[in-house]
Every structure is written in C-alpha cells, then in structure tokens.
Amino acid sequence: MSCLHTLSRSWHESIWLYEQLAFASPGDAVLLTRDAVLATESPITLASFLAKCEAQGVSVYVLAEDLKLRGVDNKYQNCHAVDYGGFVDLVIQHDKQIAW
C-alpha cells in the first residue's frame, strides 16, 4: 500500500516538513509542489532531507511547472523534476496520495 506524499508548504517557514519524512515508508514517494519547491534553490536546505530519503528508499520529485512559475533553479540531481503528466503517473503508481 505505497503512498505518494505531496508537500506544498515552504521549507523555509514550516518546522514540521522535516518531521514528515518519519511518516513515510520504503517505496513511498514525495512530490514537492507550490511553496515546497522554493527550497530547491538553496544548495543546503534540502541536502540532509534528500540524503535521508535515499537511505530510506523514498524517492523525491519536484513539480516542474511550479519551479518555472517561481523562476527557481532546482540544484538537486536526486530531486527529479516532473510535469503534470508525471504527477498523474505518480498518483497511478501509488495506492494513495496524502496532501500534507
């Protein structure tokens, strides 16, 4: 029963995004959308989160349209940009989605 976790809050403002990973299981995926994409501009903010995700077997994606809209450069190779078609695929590939 794998799960797609969509995050939409800003990592720069919300303390609890970092806690959220503890609620994910191996095989789950995380998709960054809206303000959650802003953090990919900083080479530091997401580094430890992404390393932990990799160690836990959780893949991380970022919505390309939301990056483009905000003019943000994604500096992380292990945070894969997907378009809305990719978002749809992620929804299909996992049994359920949770919008945090």
Binding site: Y84, F87, I92, Q97
Partner: protein, 129 residues
C-alpha cells in the same frame, strides 16, 4: 483509471484549485477519467458565478466550467461549506429566506456523502489542500 479530486483552497487566494485544474487536464490527456471534483472548505467559493477577474487573469470559475462541459466531469460544492460562504442556488436561497442566488450552472451542491461515495468508487483520490 477512475480518479476523484478533492479541493480545499479558496478562489483567487490559493493556488490549490489551479493545480488541481492542471492535474485534471493532464489526467484526462493520459486517458484517465475524472469521476468527480469536490470543492470543500474555502474551495466552495469556486461555484460563485458572480466572481469576476480582469480579462488577462485566470478565470477559475469559467475554466472549471469549461472542463466540466467538455469532458463531462461533475463539479460538486459541499453544501455546508458553500452556504457558510454565501454560495447558493435559487432553491437554497428560498429555503433559507435569502434574497438572490449566485450558484454557477455548471456546479452541483451536495453533502459530504457524495465525496465519500466518489472516493470509495474511484481507483485513486487526489487532494489539493
């Protein structure tokens, strides 16, 4: 696959419904069926036909309506959420003794049971909080 969508974010002030609208188009293009779009909480404002933006802004109410008509996607407002925020059909307004009505004809007003039915019947549910 059959997908139902739940939206919570308000008209104009949130990106959540805009994201949902883009998602719905992508899902339909990929051959999936959107069985219902349910507008809960502040999202109930999307059924207000009086909402008016500048001609170069995204007209959310109109764009949802077009999606619904073109692809036969049911748009459902949560009845309590809509009434609390002043979105009402002629029948609802009469029932509450309110003067006027503003429900857009592309939207239906139903209870949260309709959301649950759609959720249990669909293969996937996607929430835009």
């Amino acid at each position: 696959m059959k997908i139902n969508i739940l939206i919570n974010g308000g008209l104009y002030s949130s990106q959540s419904a805009y994201s949902a609208w883009q998602f719905a188009h992508a899902a339909i293009s990929a051959g999936h069926e959107i069985t219902q779009v349910f507008f809960h909480q502040d999202a109930a404002g999307h059924g207000n036909r009086l909402a008016t933006v500048m001609s170069d802004e995204f007209d959310a109410v109109e764009m949802w309506s077009r999606l619904s008509v073109k692809h036969a996607v049911p748009l459902v407002l949560c009845v309590s959420a809509a009434e609390r925020r002043g979105v009402m059909s002629q029948e609802q307004a009469a029932e509450w003794g309110r003067e006027g009505d503003n429900l857009h004809s592309s939207f239906a007003v139903q209870g949260l049971g309709a959301l649950l039915e759609a959720t249990l019947a669909a293969d996937r549910m996607v929430t835009f909080a």
